[in-house]
Amino acid sequence: MNTNSNVYTVIYTTVVVTIVAAVLAFVASKLGPAQNANAKAETLRQMMSAAGIKPTDELYATKNADILQLYADNIDEAYTIDLKGEKNGELGTAMENIQLVDKLKPQNKAIKAEGEVTLPVYVFKSGKVVILIYGAGLWGPVWGYIAFEHDCHTIAGAYFDHEGETPGLGAKIKDEPWFREKFAGKTVEWGEDPAFRLEKNAEATGATNAVDAITGATMTSKGLNEALNVWFKAYENHLGLGAFFNMLEEHAISETPNAEEE
């Protein structure tokens, strides 16, 4: 048979491409659920690491199925808000409602354009409130989970991840526990500009809303700093107001007994 004729070539390539497409489609549909479960479990691990449900190592040693159970046991409510800080959707506490990182990129654009957003807020039974941040690092996106104490002012914990920052430099935002641990106990000053500083020598100023940038990872640090401030700004109307009312409440409680003592 003449394998160089036009008809043969066209039929041959058509058949080969069809077979390959069928194989890939079949595999993708078979493996899809497992991949999705992996991605969701990863999101939950990082979120619960930030919220301090369990140490990060333990979370990563826990199987996917147990991670789901742990999340279901600890989550109180999950909802989304718009830029005005008003609720515009319930995420529910079920697994299907976990927002994966790929949803954050369009949100990030919408925040900057002041468009329609559905920013997720996760409230855990421990009272900790977890929000997300997302931005551009040096090589690709960086994102993270910031957990607030009940007062919506003090950071309880954080977890950062990235797609492809330089290992040993920018990748430290994920790989080095000391970096994320530095965020615990810091505050976010709602209403101030910037609300948070991740800059060179920031800690030396003594401000409570400052963390030092990573040496050698200037662009990653800058990107993360921007991601933090852009998203804090977006959450400001919701959490900032929450923080204000919490403060009023605390003052009301602490002042009454004092008044009696006097």
């Binding site: 070539t9 595999v27 493996l31 991949q35 990863e42 990563y60 040993g168």
Partner: protein
């Protein structure tokens, strides 16, 4: 026959090593050798892709229209690479490694070794020798990858497979982590290789 098979397997690992002698597949060798674990998974992925692609192309070798043979090879290689990537993503234990290797698994398709072996060997040989040739070339690539990753992780992070082996007093060298150092290391390996193998000297 046995002698020829032995040569098919050993030649790509030693005398005709794709990285140190043919200088192919350098790009990914620089990118994924920061940690041993990633390098090992990458090496295994490339071994599987080169092996299976060579096998399939060898099986098809008498039917492929000559004018579109590169395109057909590309389709076969791309399918293998996507399969490997999808399987890594689906495994509970391999998900994190796949994330760490990010685009480089997908970029195996552009690895010159895969296409090079299909063009040079699989299209002119029977399926079994082609499979072995593909596997061996992948192994030759993987061997260098693992050697480079061993030194880069040890000197760059003070760890091996993520476990700390050097004392805390060792300050990790940041240069080692950057891609240029991988090139220097590969240069050193080529130097050592040529010093020992007189046939390679010009």
């Amino acid at each position: 026959m046995a002698q020829k098979l032995k040569e098919t397997i050993l030649n790509p690992i030693l005398k005709g090593n794709p990285i140190t002698v043919l200088v192919l597949g350098i790009c990914s060798a620089l990118a994924v050798t920061v940690q041993l674990k990633g390098a090992l998974v990458m090496a295994l992925s490339v071994i599987i892709v080169t092996g299976l692609s060579s096998l399939v192309c060898s099986l098809l070798r008498n039917t492929i229209p000559n004018r579109v043979r590169i395109i057909v090879q590309l389709v076969v290689v791309a399918m293998m690479v996507i399969l490997v990537d999808q399987i890594l993503k689906a495994g509970e234990g391999t998900y994190a490694i796949d994330k760490q290797l990010s685009v480089y698994i997908g970029l195996i398709i552009t690895n010159c070794i895969v296409m090079g072996r299909i063009e040079a060997f699989a299209l002119g040989n029977k399926p079994i020798p082609s499979l072995l040739d593909g596997l061996a070339n992948g192994a030759g690539y993987g061997l260098i990858l693992v050697i480079v990753a061993f030194f880069r992780e040890l000197l760059g992070s003070g760890t091996l497979f993520g476990f700390q082996v050097l004392p805390d007093s060792y300050i990790p060298n940041n240069l080692v982590i950057l891609p240029p150092f991988a090139l220097i290391l590969i240069g050193c390996i080529i130097w050592v290789h040529r010093a020992f193998d007189k046939d390679l000297q010009e």
